[in-house]
């Protein structure tokens, strides 16, 4: 038998690309939510943006709703991007398919929950738990990767 490869012949890779796409598209769409709140709250941060809405608006640096979406987006960058990178390397280590599925599913579900909880201001510890589940998946994949690496 050979080594696990990063192509569609490998059923773990075929699963991974689906979950990776689901969390990445969510991350990309956070920009649209930010834009929605900037426009409806008239909270633009660049002068050229205020100018394009007809009347002369002030630049707004700290609309609470906009800042909340931006924190959620940054949290995605801090967690989703490492997940996709670690996930790719983890797939290459040839994990058991059931274990790999579990990692990908827990991460994807926890990050969607994290976003809803963050944007809808659900009381803690909802957000902390969703965050911790994602972090746990990433750390677990790091462990698998390091056990196969050479230095």
């Amino acid at each position: 038998m050979g080594y696990a490869t990063l192509n569609l012949e490998n059923p773990v890779f075929r699963q991974f690309i689906g979950y990776a796409a689901l969390v990445l598209v969510k991350t990309c769409l956070m920009s649209s939510i930010t834009a929605y709140y900037r426009i409806t709250r008239k909270a633009f941060i660049n002068e050229e943006d205020t100018a394009s809405f007809g009347k002369k608006l002030q630049v707004v640096l700290n609309n609470p709703q906009v800042e909340r979406v931006r924190r959620c987006h940054l949290n995605d960058l801090e967690n989703v991007i490492p997940f996709v990178l670690l996930g790719l390397l983890y797939v290459a280590t040839g994990p058991n398919q059931a274990a790999a599925s579990l990692h990908f599913r827990i991460f994807t579900i926890s990050r969607y929950i994290h976003t809803f909880v963050y944007l809808l201001v659900v009381p803690q510890p909802a957000r902390a738990l969703a965050f911790a589940a994602g972090l746990f998946v990433n750390i677990s994949m790091v462990y698998s990767i390091l056990s196969q690496a050479s230095f």
Copy 2:
């Protein structure tokens, strides 16, 4: 015939690595532009940085030119990094080469335009259009990936 592989034998991969390197190096160099403005505007955010310029400067949190570069850099992280990750998975799905080239070229050109427009304060909707073109490429690649994934 076999599956599309992530190595140089695959002409789509060979193209992808070039465009990915071009947008990633632009993202990395944004740090240098930030440093240039911090030094020329004497707008340092860490005390240890102000100390290294001889006279005791104040920490400056909100120089408008520095903040503009930093917003542009963050926007790159939010869009360029997902592009490279999605692009890698998209290449593995074995896309038509002409379609793939088009995706990579539109994204690369739109992000370079986005940076120039942002830093030179070109009036809207220039920045919004450049941003939308990049987002559209990413969403299109998500669609291709999901159509080949298993869950």
Copy 3:
């Protein structure tokens, strides 16, 4: 002979996944350091977080220690993520193993130094040098990638 592949059969890839995991796990753990300072300094940024600590605290936007950790974390996102992406493509270009090891080791060591220097407020130019070493590795890998790419 064939092309360099992204699987464990390739010794350069086997090294790469180890260094990539080391720098990614460091980046992921920055969140925990931020959380530690937010809790010990009672500097929460979300209302739902202040509420979960019993007494009604004010939201704190600018605790200096928390903001320092967050800048360090963002700097990781700006440099570590491009390193892992560029590193993956660089491995696919089939670099000399000794040269590749040197790239991965310099980057990994420089980023760990960067974090300690940033968090412990070591005087400049320590942080600038650690940052520059990492950027240099990334630019060098971009050069190798572009020399093998087709457009």
